[in-house]
Subunit: 318 residues, 2 copies
C-alpha cells in the first residue's frame, strides 16, 4: 500500500510518498498565507509526490488542534488560518481518503512505524526544542484523548512557583527542558563564573548566553558546558519520571533540536532518570533513545496514519 | 453474566457478586497473614458470595504490582506476601477463569462500568486519601502500560524542591493533595493565626492539627477552615491540569476519603482547574465529579474485569 504524508509547517510543507514503511519520494514547498492557499498547496504537493502512482490515501500533520472531523481548529503559527476543514476540502480536491492529525502526534506515529520507536507498543515521544511536544502510544495505538489534545506534556507544571510561561501557568516543563531553559541555565552558570568558554562564545556577556553556545562548547569538550547540559538532563529526566509514573512505557524516544548533541545530553538524562524513578527496582528498565527520523518524522507518520494502529483507537481518528 | 469480584486489602477482603452492573451479594472477611492463607481466604470468600450460582469468572483487585501472568509481585501492605501466583492458584482451586489487577485499576474500572465514570470513554480516576491512587481509561479501555504500572499519578513531582516523599523523590503530588498535605496546610494556617476553630479542635497546638480537624471545622461552616480546603483544592487542581494536558480526558472522577467533604473541596478544585488549564478556551469543559461507589469500587471493578473493555487492551490484561 502506497500512501502520501504531508507535514504542514509554519514555513514549509514537506510531503513524502511511503510504501512498506520506506520513503520512496519527497517534495517540499513554502507554506503560503491564508486558508485557501494552504489547501491548494497541500493538494498540489500531495499530487506531485504521488507522481501519478495509485495512492491509498493522504495523511496531513498540522501544527495545531484538529477536531474529529479533520478540521484545523486553532493554529497559532499559521496566520490567517482558522477553522479550516482540511479533510473535507482535500478529499474533494484529490478524490482520495484524507486523514488529519496534530503534527506531534504524526511524528510520534512515524517514529513508531518507521523509526526509533519500532517494536514498542507502549512508548512516549518527547520533542525537546524551542518548546516541548509529545505523543503517546499505548497498547500499540495512538493515544489521542477525548478531543485529540493528549500528549501536551510540555505544559506539565514542575514548579508552581517557577518562571511564568506564555500559556498562563508558571513552572511548565518546557520552561526548563528546552532551548530557552538551557540558555537560562547557561546564563546562571556564566554569571557565577562556572562557564568560561560558554561566556567567551557569547561575547563576554552572561545575559547573551543562549542554548547554542552551551551545546557548541560542550561539543568541543568543554567540561563546564557539559556540566550545564547535565543540569538540563536532570530537568528532562524529572518530566520523564512523571510521564513514566502515569503511562508506564517501555521506552521514551527523545527528538527535537536539543537531542542533536547526543550522549552529551542523553547520558545525564539516563543517569538522573534512574536515580529519580521510585519504582525502578520493581520493573524492567525503561529505554531512553534518540529519535531517528529527524524532520521527516511528521510527514512519514502522516503517511502511516492509514496503518492499523494509527487510525481509530485509542481515541477516534479524525 | 454473573461474575465475582474480590478486593484484597491490607485488613479485609471485600467480595461482591455482580450481574448486569448491579451488586447482588456481598461478603467480607479479615485478610490473614501469609501467601497460602490469603489464597485460601480469597477462594473461600469468592465461593461463599457466589452462593452456588453459575459464575463466569472471578476478578481480584490487589494492593500492589501485578505481572502479566496474574502474580502479585510486590505488596508493601501485605506482610509475608511475595511473588504470589494468585491467578494460577485460584484457577486451580476454583476451576474458574480468574483475572488479577491492581486495586486502583479495579476501582477505576468499577466507576467506569457501574459508577460515576459511566458514559466516559476517556476518564481519569484519582483517589485522594492518605496517598493518591489513580487509574486511566483511554478510548474506553483501561490503560495499564507496559508492566501494569500505569496510573501511578501520586508520585508526579510538582516541586523538585518540595518536601521529601518516602518514595525517594521530593515534592510528589501526594505530599500536597492528601490527608497529610491537608494537615500541613492546616498547621501552617494555625501557626499563622488563620485557623482559630481548627486550632481549638486540635487542642490548641498548631503541630497537632490534622486533616480531620480541618474537614470537621469546614463542615461546621468555619470560613477559615474552608479557606484551607480551598488551598488544598488548588494543589489538587494543579495535578489534574498536568493529567489533563497528558491524557485529554472528558472527566475526572475524584474518590478517596478527602472527597467526602463534597463541594467544600470540589468547588475550589473546579475553580482552580478552570483558571490553570491553559487550553481551556479551545476544548469542551472537563467534568470533575465525585466517585459514587465508595469502598465497593475495587470489588465491583474486579468483577467487571470480564467486561469487554476491562480485559485485554489497552495494555494486556494479566
Amino acid at each position: 500500500m502506497r500512501t502520501v504524508g504531508v507535514d504542514l509547517g509554519g514555513t514549509k510543507c514537506l510531503a513524502v510518498a511511503v510504501e512498506g514503511g520506506r520513503v520512496i519520494g519527497e517534495r517540499r514547498v513554502h507554506t503560503p498565507a491564508g486558508g485557501t492557499a494552504v489547501l491548494d498547496a497541500l493538494a498540489a504537493v500531495a499530487s506531485d509526490v504521488a507522481g501519478g502512482a495509485e495512492i491509498a490515501g493522504v495523511g496531513v500533520g498540522v501544527p495545531g488542534l484538529v477536531d474529529r472531523g479533520g478540521a484545523l481548529r486553532f493554529a497559532p503559527n499559521l496566520p490567517g488560518v482558522v477553522d479550516l476543514p482540511i479533510k473535507a476540502e482535500l478529499e474533494a480536491r484529490l478524490g482520495l481518503p484524507v486523514r488529519v492529525d496534530n503534527d506531534a502526534t504524526c511524528a510520534t506515529w512515524g517514529e513508531r512505524q518507521a523509526g526509533a520507536a519500532q517494536g514498542y507498543d507502549d512508548v512516549v515521544l518527547v520533542a525537546l526544542g524551542t518548546g516541548i511536544g509529545g505523543g503517546i502510544v499505548a497498547g500499540g495505538h495512538l493515544l489521542r484523548g477525548a478531543n485529540g489534545f493528549a500528549g501536551e506534556v510540555g505544559h506539565m507544571v514542575l514548579d508552581p512557583a517557577g518562571p511564568p510561561c506564555p500559556c498562563g501557568q508558571r513552572g511548565c516543563w518546557e520552561r526548563y527542558a528546552s532551548g530557552g531553559g538551557l540558555g537560562r541555565l547557561g546564563q546562571a552558570a556564566a554569571a557565577e563564573g562556572r562557564a568560561a568558554r560558554v561566556l567567551a562564545l557569547a561575547g563576554g556577556d552572561p545575559a547573551a548566553v543562549r542554548g547554542e553556545h552551551i551545546t557548541a562548547a560542550a561539543a568541543e569538550g568543554d567540561a563546564e558546558a557539559q556540566a550545564v547540559l547535565a543540569e538540563l538532563g536532570r530537568w528532562v529526566a524529572l518530566g520523564l519520571v512523571n510521564l513514566a509514573n502515569a503511562f508506564d512505557p517501555q521506552a521514551f524516544v527523545l527528538g527535537g533540536g536539543l537531542v542533536e548533541v547526543g550522549d552529551l545530553l542523553l547520558a545525564p538524562v539516563r543517569a538522573a532518570f534512574a536515580t529519580l524513578l521510585a519504582s525502578g527496582a520493581h520493573r524492567p528498565p525503561i529505554a531512553i533513545v534518540p529519535a531517528s527520523l529527524g524532520e521527516h518524522a511528521g510527514a512519514i507518520g502522516a503517511a502511516c496514519l492509514f496503518d492499523a494502529g494509527g487510525a481509530g483507537r485509542v481515541g477516534s481518528a479524525p
